[in-house]
């Protein structure tokens, strides 16, 4: 009788453990998938920028320096993105990605601020289309980031709270990092003010 009771308790504990483990896995998959979404949108952003530079080059010949900066920021951000897509949630990589994208957002908004003084450029249909696409991409990036950060929070909560923290430490589920863009203010303002 006692034997049976012990077996039952052990079975129940095991079932709870399996359930907690699966929950952690599901949450980990969720934030990884959310990161994949950011990755897609960042790729889209980086692909649009050479087109943008190409189409403004003719009009903004005096801003060669800014254009070079945009291209440089874009290239280094693209490099970081490629590294980061393999290690979602890694704190160092996430910080680096945040920094690179923040810089890119900063120089981009400077470029758009400068474009205000080139009326022919602003009148060109091609430029307006690119502007809409970039606005949309900025929004996509920020929504994807929002979804990623929400998923990370849920995962981290599961890793750190009782009782799933026991299972988490047993199977090496670590806390992961959210993605914050440095220069966030500017980046959020960029699509709203100077693009519209």
């Amino acid at each position: 009788m006692e034997m049976l009771l012990i077996i039952l308790v052990l079975l129940a504990l095991m079932a709870i453990g399996v359930w907690l483990y699966n929950r952690l896995i599901r949450k980990r998959n969720a934030f990884r998938n959310a990161f994949a979404q950011i990755d897609v949108q960042l790729k889209r952003r980086h692909d649009l920028i050479p087109n943008l530079v190409e189409s403004v080059k003719g009009y903004m010949s005096h801003e060669r320096e800014t254009l070079t900066e945009v291209i440089e920021a874009r290239n280094s951000a693209e490099q970081v993105r490629q590294q980061a897509s393999g290690t979602p949630g890694d704190p160092a990589t996430m910080a680096e990605l945040g920094r690179a994208e923040g810089t890119l957002g900063g120089v981009l908004s400077r470029l758009f601020a400068l474009s205000e003084s080139y009326p022919e450029l602003r009148a060109s249909e091609n430029f307006r289309q690119l502007q809409e696409e970039l606005t949309s991409t900025e929004n996509r990036v920020s929504y994807a980031r929002q979804a990623y950060n929400d998923a990370v929070m849920k995962y981290n909560n599961a890793v750190q709270t009782v009782p799933s923290n026991a299972v988490a430490s047993m199977f090496n589920f670590g806390v992961v990092a959210m993605l914050e863009f440095e220069d966030r203010e500017q980046l959020q303002q960029a699509p709203r003010v100077s693009f519209s």
Binding site: A34, R128, S136
Partner: protein
């Protein structure tokens, strides 16, 4: 924009969900009550009472107790189960019939589809906004439709599952809203998709249809008795059948009325929930409040000119038929209440957006699309 009060969307969502649950439960209770009542009446009529109608001589036991004694409980239960069965079965059939995909519904409402490769800048912007919200809501991309020749600001979501959903926007909304406001409206429709509101509404409509079927069945019973019973001499059976038919008609009609009230009440809750969920997606209540204010500003000429208006009004972003008072049958909460929930400082007397003429809205909306040089002629300081 001044600092806005923090809008606690999760709090609003929790409240709206609780209230919906109560309302749905009430709906089921009504169905149950009607089935039971019909059963009891049938049990009473076919049980003891029926015999008394035939044999007038037998002493009728007085009072409620006496009546209860006369009920044939087995029969009552059978009839109750039967009636509930009829209601639920017709409801299920109706649900299957109405359950098409969103694109079909959108086309039936006169929508033309917008695709990724559109050249029109306003439609391109709409398509982009929908794609952005799909990311924010983590839902699959729905199909996008524009209702032409519709000057009012409105929008709808159709389709029962996120995979077959469609979002429709009136031409007026496309022309009069800024990008951010359009985003708020699209987020609200995504919220309906996310919260399963089309499915919920379909179920409620189907339930009402089941109750309608009940009273139709009652009428059929009465009519058939009227025609076939005339020749016969079996008065008792005729009377009993007539009474059963009448019971079905009356209870069915009562149920339909109560059902309509409940459907409207549930729909109003779901609108509040969708506003809250929209803020969860966009994280900014301001533009959604502005879109609602613009609807208020246009309400005079807004009336959706669609023959299907009555059937689809619960799906719309805002009430299509302008109402003076927040009637019990309204499918949407009063506009001002919705705006206040998002913007507590809202005052209709002084709010500039609430009083804006449509021409100005269109100009503001186009500024985001048109060449910048046109807008920067000195008059426009609205972005500051």
């Amino acid at each position: 924009m001044t600092a806005r009060a923090v809008f606690d969307f999760s709090e609003h969502q929790a409240r709206a969900r609780r209230q919906t649950a109560v309302l749905v439960l009430l709906f089921l209770l009504i169905t149950l009550a009607i089935s039971l009542l019909t059963g009891v009446v049938a049990g009473f009529l076919f049980g003891g009472a029926a015999e008394h109608v035939g044999h007038q001589t037998a002493a009728v036991p007085g009072g409620l107790e006496g009546m209860v004694e006369q009920i044939d409980w087995n029969l009552a239960l059978t009839v109750a189960v039967l009636v509930a069965g009829i209601i639920l079965a017709t409801a299920a059939i109706r649900a299957l019939m109405l359950g098409g995909n969103g694109a079909t519904v959108a086309r039936a409402m006169g929508g033309t589809e917008v695709t990724r490769d559109t050249r029109n800048p306003a439609k391109r912007r709409l398509y982009n906004v929908v794609e952005e919200m799909a990311i924010a809501a983590t839902l699959p991309m729905p199909r996008v439709f524009v209702i032409k020749h519709e000057k009012g600001i409105n929008a709808f979501a159709a389709g029962l599952r996120p995979g077959t959903a469609a979002i429709g926007i009136t031409h007026g909304a496309l022309a009069s809203l800024t990008r951010d406001e359009l985003q708020g409206v699209v987020a609200h429709e995504f919220a309906h998709i996310n919260n399963g509101d089309m499915r919920l509404n379909l179920r409620l409509m189907a339930m009402i249809f089941g109750l309608v079927a009940l009273s139709v069945a009652g009428r059929m019973v009465m009519r058939s008795v009227f025609f076939t019973g005339r020749g016969r001499r079996d008065q008792r059976a005729v009377l009993v059948a007539m009474a059963v038919g009448l019971t079905l008609v009356v209870l069915g009609a009562l149920g339909v009325f109560a059902g309509r009230l409940l459907q409207a009440a549930i729909s109003r809750q779901r609108e509040h929930l969708a506003d809250a969920t929209a803020v969860q997606f966009t994280r900014q209540p301001g533009p959604l409040a502005n879109a609602l204010k613009k609807i208020g500003a246009l309400q005079r000429d807004e009336q959706l000119q669609n023959p299907h208006g009555e059937e689809i009004r619960h799906m719309l972003f805002a009430e299509a038929v302008a109402r003076r008072s927040p009637g019990l049958l309204a499918t949407h909460p009063p506009l001002i209440d919705r705006i206040r929930a998002l913007d507590p400082a809202f005052n209709p007397k002084t709010d500039p957006v609430w009083r804006q003429p449509q021409r100005e809205m269109i100009r503001e909306s186009r500024r985001g699309l048109r060449k910048q040089s046109e807008g920067s002629s000195g008059l426009d300081i609205a972005d500051a």
